[in-house]
């Protein structure tokens, strides 16, 4: 275990002392119950889509893996392997054609209220201010307006956006919009955080900063995370477990446990750890085949982003 320099960014460091307190209480009181609620089990899930012309397409075939409570699990795989579909089924937005998705031991049959979902495109409502956007979750769940807004202010400060409460999303940079989205996702204190290539559209530096912030915030409240990405480095740097999926129809090819110590510190620096490189090499061997297969299938189109790693 090599010492890893710990450099959480300013906002996250500031947050460390100031995070809303209820977590400690919930964790102490019903630790087991809360923990069990955040276990995700995907058992033999198959998902088929029927196109408007009537042809069926299998997106996922017999996918099984699980995310332990409080675990950070990344899913990597070539473009079009059904990673996002897996996520929408955990969220309850779609239903499996066969198999079952269980969250906290119960089959998912709708949208659960202790989950947050972060999409690749920022899903902030453009006609609402940052403050109103962050307060959406509590407002939808019936929290009184003043209370929701106060809480939103708090979380905006935590993600380092103080002073931008009244701005509209189009007035923010891509990284700031991600911060706002992160605050909107975390304000409900979810026990499960689903992320679909959340930082995929960011430039490299902003992505690194956001990854660090995410890790710092996650390490404080420890929701289970299911994190979709096509960037293997990102997956290894962030996750406890990496699931490699095959080219479509997607199945689980292999599952790797990442034994890099936590807290991980800066993701830019962990990349140079010998153990990181070893794991990366190992997983890439497995992933490369799938990427190549997906690439061969799509022919000469240059859209296969999986081939970049």
């Amino acid at each position: 275990m090599t010492p890893i320099s710990q450099t959480p960014t300013g906002a996250a460091r500031e947050a460390a002392g100031a995070l809303p307190a209820p977590h400690a209480a919930t964790r102490a009181a019903g630790a087991n119950e809360a923990q069990e609620r955040s276990r995700i089990e995907i058992v033999g899930v198959t998902k088929r889509f029927v196109s408007p012309t009537g042809t069926a397409m299998t997106a996922l075939r017999d996918v099984s893996f699980s995310v332990e409570p409080g675990q950070f699990c990344a899913v990597v795989g070539p473009t079009g392997c059904g990673k996002s579909t897996t996520l929408t089924m955990v969220a309850g937005l779609e239903r499996p054609s066969a198999g079952v998705v269980r969250v906290g031991g119960q089959a998912v049959d709708g949208i659960a209220d202790h989950m947050s979902f972060m999409f690749q495109s920022d899903a902030l409502l453009p006609w609402k201010s940052v403050l109103q956007n962050v307060a959406l979750g509590p407002r939808f769940r019936g929290v009184p307006k003043s209370e929701a807004l106060a809480k939103a202010r708090e979380w905006i400060r935590v993600v380092g956006l103080s002073g931008f409460e009244d701005h509209h999303p189009h007035q923010l940079s891509g990284g700031m919009r991600k911060r706002a989205t992160l605050a909107a996702s975390l304000i409900s204190e979810p026990s499960i955080l689903l992320m679909d290539e959340p930082f995929g559209a960011l430039d490299v530096q902003t992505k690194a900063i956001m990854s660090n912030e995410l890790l710092t915030l996650w390490e404080r409240t420890r929701p289970s995370v299911l994190f979709i990405t096509h960037d293997l480095e990102e997956a290894v740097a962030l996750a406890d477990r990496v699931v490699v999926m095959t080219a479509g129809p997607g199945t689980v090819k292999a599952v790797y446990d990442i034994d890099l110590p936590r807290p991980r510190g800066a993701v830019q620096e962990i990349r140079f750890e010998p153990r990181f490189l070893e794991l990366h090499q190992q997983i890439w061997e497995s992933l490369r085949e799938e990427v190549e297969r997906a690439y061969a299938r799509t022919g000469r189109t240059t859209e296969t982003r999986g081939g970049r790693q």
Binding site: T88, A91, L93, I111, D113, M115, S116, F117, F119, S121, A123, L125, P126, W127, K128, L136, G137, F140, R141, H168, H170, Q171, A184, S188
Partner: protein, 304 residues
């Protein structure tokens, strides 16, 4: 750079740039901004001047040619004749009572039609956009109704509802309805799927989804349709008055036509244009208020 200057215009352009550079020392932002402002002001003055010139040429030409009898004022009217007609109507009233009454009646009909048609269009558009089953069932009927030249409905409305304002309001609202309906429907269907999925995961109920996502995002489409819709509301009111009424600007036009008074027709046209432009201005204000969250247009941000 010199070797690129091959033509006279290039040389001129370069001279202009050098002139600009002389006037604005490099790096001095204040003077660059001043120069840009001056350029903008100059352009604005040029545009205004060209507009005034266009009006003078058209109206003056019209007056001149009719005065010289190149064009017969009996058929084509005359700007001075229009001015006289307007003054006469204002001072002495029209054949159907005071001019203000005519304007008021037509305005009431147009506004009534505009409001009812818009409301119906939004409600049905959102409803059908939200309930695909209903949209599939009603789709063909709406298409058929839309294909009918709806102006002819005016006749049946006059038969049903008589010469009063109600038949005109109904005709105007039918015209307005279709414009707004199709836009609202399309707007609802174009709502960003990501936003919908996001608020659903955040725990929004169906009515919250409609209030916070569907309506605000359809507003862009609905507002765009209102500009056209008000025009249709006025058309509905005027045509309704043609078809049978006891007062209103449409009746004035119809009267002028029957008495061979082109100046009267033009005068009524002028009044209607003023009303339409005022409404257009108000709708633009509303648009600005409701869509203030949108990024500024290029016109606003460009400049320096």
């Amino acid at each position: 750079m010199n070797h690129q200057i091959s033509t006279v215009s290039d040389a001129k352009a370069l001279a202009a740039i050098q002139e600009d550079l002389r006037q604005t020392p490099p790096g001095d932002e204040a003077s660059i901004a001043d120069a840009a402002r001056a350029r903008r002001r100059r352009r604005r003055i040029q545009v205004q001047a060209a507009r005034v010139a266009a009006v003078i040429v058209i109206v003056g030409g019209w007056q001149l040619f009719t005065a010289l009898k190149v064009v017969d004022p009996f058929f084509f009217g005359q700007p001075t004749g229009i001015a006289h007609q307007l003054v006469d109507w204002v001072q002495n009233g029209t054949p159907y009572g005071s001019l203000w009454l005519q304007i008021e009646v037509t305005m009431k009909e147009a506004l009534g039609g505009f409001v009812y048609g818009t409301l119906a269009g939004i409600v049905l558009g959102v409803l059908l956009g939200q309930v695909p089953f209903l949209a599939d069932v009603l789709g063909p009927f709406i298409k058929v109704l839309n294909a009918v030249p709806r102006i002819v409905l005016g006749s049946i409305f006059v038969v049903w509802l008589g010469f009063g304002p109600t038949s005109k309001i109904l005709l105007a609202s039918v015209l307005v309805f279709f414009v707004v309906f199709f836009n609202a429907f399309q707007g609802v269907r174009e709502v960003d799927r990501n936003l919908l999925a996001n608020v659903r995961v955040l725990g929004a109920s169906r009515s919250q989804v409609i209030r916070d996502v569907v309506l605000p995002s359809a507003v862009v489409w609905i507002i765009a349709s209102l500009h056209v819709a008000f025009g249709f509301a006025i058309i509905g009111a005027i045509v309704g008055e043609f078809l049978g009424s006891q007062e209103g600007l449409g009746l004035l036009i119809s009267y002028s036509q029957n008495h061979f008074l082109p100046d009267g027709i033009f005068t009524a046209m002028l009044i209607i244009a003023v009303i339409a432009l005022t409404a257009e201005g108000l709708i633009s204000q509303l648009e600005k208020r409701l869509l203030s969250w949108r990024p500024g247009t290029h016109v606003e941000t460009a400049g320096l």
